[in-house]
Amino acid sequence: MDIQTTGLTRRFGKVTALHSVDLAIPGGMYGLLGANGAGKTTLMRILAGVLPPSGGQVRVGGHDLTTSAGRLAVQRRLGYLPQDLGLYPDLSPREFLDYVGLLKGLDDTRARHRQVDELLELVALTEVAGRRMKGFSGGMRRRVGIAQALLGDPALIVVDEPTAGLDPEERVRFRTLLAGLAGHRTVLLSTHIVEDVAQTCQHAAVMAGGRVVYTGMVTDLVRVGEGATWEVTSSGPAPTVGVVVSAISRTDGTHYRVVSSSRPSPDAVPVPPSLEDGYVALMQRASARAHTVPGGLRLPS
């Protein structure tokens, strides 16, 4: 299922969470990268058909999401893993998936049970399938969450910050699981962690302050950092120009990695950018243009 938005806008009272967003999302795995508050969740809720837009056009698989009939039709065809999916502590994963299957209208009991068992296997929860979910780890909860999104074999899967709060091992595992789903489906993954997109997506969009500031190949995003990524070695204070993305203390002083459109200090050495550098450079340009500072940016080292 392909996704098309034109001039998509959503306001909450005085806050404009989405400013005229234009996106064309092809099949496969697609990343949506942005700091907290960038508008990712709002966009995903609209795409999942649970929130009507305030303005603009949005079509998912040909259904017009500005109409309630279109939203309902899309809800029936997609799997959605919201940020912070609440789970019922008294149900086991098997019961929970059966429950969600019922709500999704999978009426054939035997087929539903078979699908639930297959999904439990897929997300490696078969061993705890009968245990109450009370006390499940973050990673287990997220895997239950992706399994419920996959019920009914949807052609489009929307996952909102699924790796937030997972430990590194769980995150890698979850990413691999998601990438494996993208074969014949569209998987839209939102995250504020650059590494998630780097490891799984070929295409991505970057959002900042409710606007889309980049769309294209992930490899091209690296290039945004070209000529803007520097290393500064200093035993004095940190550079004040640009954004310091890492600081490593060595015997000869502290090695700062700085993203800045201009040379941050006379002794700064240009270095090849990583995806993260490209992302930070992009954010700098976006904030220079829109006069909004993206807040809450998290950069894993």
């Binding site: 809720r45 309902l72 609440g86 789970l87 149900l91 019961e95 999704k104 209208g105 009426d107």
Partner: protein
């Protein structure tokens, strides 16, 4: 809708609290309606008074005995059950989980109401069944004749008990939706059911005429009046024939409708996702 109801039933059946509440209701009802009065009777030395006490425990008094607890104590249980059914979705953050699966809010809400209706019916039927067994055992033990109530009375009594418990369940649903959680709605609901109602009836109504008048329009006294119409003992808390049984039933149905519509409208309007 059918799917929503099935899904709600899964959650209700799997919640340990549901079974705990049912057990508490049965134990409360058994202890205060049968065991304690019977123990008192068995201790006593006979006489007219205790003969009347024994009469009150026999099978032909089943209807009144079974619904006598509903205006207050068992009603509180129905309220807690309803708050859990609706309020736990806020507490666990599961409204989002529930409402992103396809069914409309209306279908989900109706599913919840249906499952509460089923649960309160089970509750009332269980009270009748346990009461029937207890009264039968007492009758046999005391070699008394076993006369069961007429089928029509039984059916009306079960229906009335169901109505009363649904009114309190509806009250619980409304509180849960307004206060978006579990703890506060249960707390406030119980304060109303167990404390305020008693204070109004026992303290305020006897000294203030307008409170006595007001009582005739409140759900608790109407529930008590409906139970009284089926012969529930007037020594049971909350049971008093302040109005006729028919009028009480109509007022209660009005409250049930009001609670359910109000909660539904509020749930429909608020952004919960």
């Amino acid at each position: 809708m059918w799917a929503s109801w099935q899904a709600e039933a899964i959650k209700m059946v799997r919640r340990p609290g549901t079974w705990l509440l049912l057990t508490v209701a049965v134990v409360l009802s058994l202890v205060f309606t049968y065991l304690a009065p019977y123990a008192a009777y068995a201790d006593g030395s006979g006489g007219v008074l205790s003969d009347r006490a024994l009469d009150a425990l026999l099978p032909d008094r089943l209807v009144g005995n079974s619904i006598g607890g509903l205006p207050v104590f068992i009603g509180a249980i129905a309220l807690i059950l309803a708050v859990l059914t609706v309020g736990a979705e806020y507490a666990w953050g599961t409204w989002k989980t529930l409402l992103t699966q396809g069914p409309s809010r209306l279908a989900v809400y109706l599913g919840k109401l249906l499952v509460l209706a089923a649960a309160t019916l089970v509750l009332v039927l269980t009270l009748f069944a346990v009461g029937a067994l207890a009264s039968l055992l007492i009758a046999v033990a005391e070699s008394q004749p076993v006369h069961w109530p007429a089928v029509g009375d039984l059916a009306l009594g079960i229906g009335s008990g169901w109505l009363i418990s649904m009114v309190w369940a509806g009250f619980g649903v409304l509180l849960a939706v307004l206060l978006r959680g579990v703890a506060l709605p249960i707390g406030l609901g119980l304060v109303w059911l167990l404390a305020v109602q008693n204070l109004l009836a026992a303290v305020a109504a006897p000294i203030l005429d307008w409170v006595a008048e007001l009582q005739k329009g409140l759900p608790g006294p109407n529930a008590g009046a409906l139970a009284a119409a089926f012969g529930a003992g007037s020594d049971t808390p909350g049971v008093a024939a302040v109005v006729g049984g028919g009028q009480a039933a109509v007022v209660l149905a009005g409250y049930l409708l009001g609670f359910v519509l109000l909660a539904g409208a509020y749930l429909h309007r608020r952004d919960i996702l």
